[in-house]
Symmetry: C2
Subunit: 369 residues, 2 copies
């Protein structure tokens, strides 16, 4: 048996409301929807933002995209010309690198450190990366892979800098619901003074455990951003019709659906942080949100170790699959001794996985080369 | 009442099998699927190609994409560097222009003419457009917007030219099932000698009247093309899970589903070609396939006429919405007196729409400016 700590596919059930909607899908033609998304769904998003996120957005600020992925890609394409630059703190969500390549945009990274709990590096370090080609800074909060949540102070500081340099701030907030230790999440949309330079990315994937639905959201109060993004949306015609219908229903799920999911993840976070701390030589920052963490292992090459675990090791017939963290860094040679762990398994499995990891590290240290 | 002749949204029901699959979707997590597509669906595609299209493809040649749209975009991105060129006969499917912009690819057009029934222009005309930056020729057969079906001879000629100049041939065959007058369609995949330079685009949208499912297919026997496209697929994670499941079921629909749909479109084609011929000054080529045609109207500016029809005209309380054809041409000033008509309405509605169009043209001619 292999415990998959390497991917962010939750084992949480999608809301009953969404599954019921699929089972009673009412139309006999699976027809094109609107390019900007199903209007009822966009209105549900608006209601959710007004009531649950506590920010005031209008339906004209909201576009439905084919997953948060497309929202990131479209943001880059809408804002940037080929050759333009976007600044991203590393380690960062690997696929952003691919989206940047598709949009012919260069990612410029600033390194955040495990020792600092992956907080934003000093403003001066970010500022010196800004060139005439910089179009935006992109954050992911709560962060995949670090679990860091950018504080209101960090956000405001960076927004002020964006204004000063006339660039955009894109914040991917798809893990917004998953903030622990009683932390309240502050959406970038809260800062209305900076509305003209903010794009917020959202998705049903993690919130409702509907990763396969490919229903995302792009929100901006900047009319030009919405207009340019809509052009891109029109080219690909629409996002999936049936799953937009299911997503609409998901937004109608009772509030305790998300509460329960969050509590479950917080329990897992508490469990895994404690379990990892007991393994000699393993270090990790305590993640405040999302369901990932970066762990530093007592190995030189985490990729080699990950391969060892899969190919040459088992403990009671079980092993663990890990994501080497090197791929989450833009800078060469960073993160070589780190892995990303997705704590999307129940605590019982997490316990077995951590035992397995501990035994694996022992065996890896003792192997004869 | 407005008759929509402007968009390709069929009024045909999706297969019962697909709707049943949705209504009995068995999973309680709408989870990520594989980036290259659901394996069962890919195998169904292979079976369909072997048995119905009569070409031999393997599951490794097949990637599921998020609609034919994404397959076109990924083809361009996989083949081209920024600044590269792709040759496309015009008039052509407008959104290709947007995909080319996203991929930073330049579309170079060769004009096909209504008088020639929109056949490929002489080879020499195409050949003189080839430069060192040309990476591919892109066809759509049966064609949207012209209804033209590229003949086996046209295909082979152009393949030979592609080989000679070491470029690719991309053929979008999403309307493959809809060939009239007893014509048999020849897929570009039939030409195995040219396998290394062929990409075939497909989709469930039109075949199964599932436009909103956003499930497309990219097929190539060129390993590099598949590998590069897979990288793009991995970035966006997967195509919609529930609708892939429905598409799998659609491939199991009885053969007469498509037969009936095809007969229905052929009836509509016959009807509208005859009806348009009766309107003074209207010319159109007889389309052999798909469900579009380009009609030349006795007006100077089809866009102005289309606006007139919507804003200033009705006949018995009804009017017609038309797509001006200018947008389907890359060359400036071509197609100004043409419109694209999608005959996706039943013949009764088509009759009323054509009457309306005839009366509209009369009124437009007699209006005082």
């Amino acid at each position: 048996k292999v415990y998959h700590l390497n991917i962010g596919q939750p084992d949480i059930k999608s809301p009953k409301e969404a599954l019921d909607a699929i089972h009673s899908y009412p139309n006999d033609i699976i027809a094109y929807g609107e390019s900007d998304g199903d209007l009822a769904l966009r209105n549900a998003v608006v209601k959710y933002y007004n009531e649950s996120v506590g920010v005031d957005v209008s339906v004209n600020d909201v576009l439905i995209t084919t997953g948060g992925s497309e929202a990131i890609l479209f943001s880059l394409m809408a804002l940037c010309d080929p050759g333009d630059e976007v600044i991203v703190p590393e380690p960062y969500y690997t696929n952003v690198h691919s989206f940047a390549r598709m949009a012919n945009v260069t990612i410029v990274s600033v390194t955040s450190l495990l020792e600092d709990n992956f907080a934003l590096p000093p403003l001066s370090m970010i500022e010196e990366r800004i060139t005439s080609k910089t179009r935006a800074i992109m954050l992911n909060s709560p962060n995949n892979p670090t679990g860091h949540i950018y504080s209101p102070k960090e956000l405001e500081t960076i927004l002020r800098m964006c204004k000063e340099h006339d660039i955009f701030l894109i914040v991917d907030e798809v893990y917004r619901e998953f903030c622990y230790d009683g932390l309240n999440f502050t959406s970038v949309l809260k800062y209305k003074d900076y509305s003209d330079r903010v794009i917020c990315i959202d998705s049903v994937s993690k919130r409702f455990s509907m990763c396969g639905a490919r229903v995302g959201v792009l929100i901006s109060r900047n009319r030009n951003v919405i207009r340019e993004t809509l052009k891109l949306s029109q080219a690909r015609l629409c996002s999936p019709t049936v799953e937009q219908y299911a997503s609409l229903a998901a937004f109608g799920a009772p509030a305790d659906y998300i509460e329960n999911v969050k509590r479950e993840y917080e329990k897992r976070r508490d469990f895994i942080v404690k379990a990892l701390a007991k393994i000699p030589g393993v270090k990790c920052a305590r993640p405040n949100g999302a369901f990932y963490l970066i762990a530093q292992l007592p190995v030189e090459d985490a990729e080699d170790f990950a391969i060892f675990m899969l190919r040459d090791f088992n403990y009671k017939g079980e092993t663990v699959m890990l994501a080497p963290a090197e791929g989450f860094y833009e800078s060469k040679d960073l993160g070589r001794d780190q892995v990303r762990i997705a704590y999307v398994l129940n605590t019982e499995d997490l316990e077995k996985a951590c035992n397995c990891l501990a035994e694996g590290l022992k065996a890896y240290g003792q192997r004869t080369l």
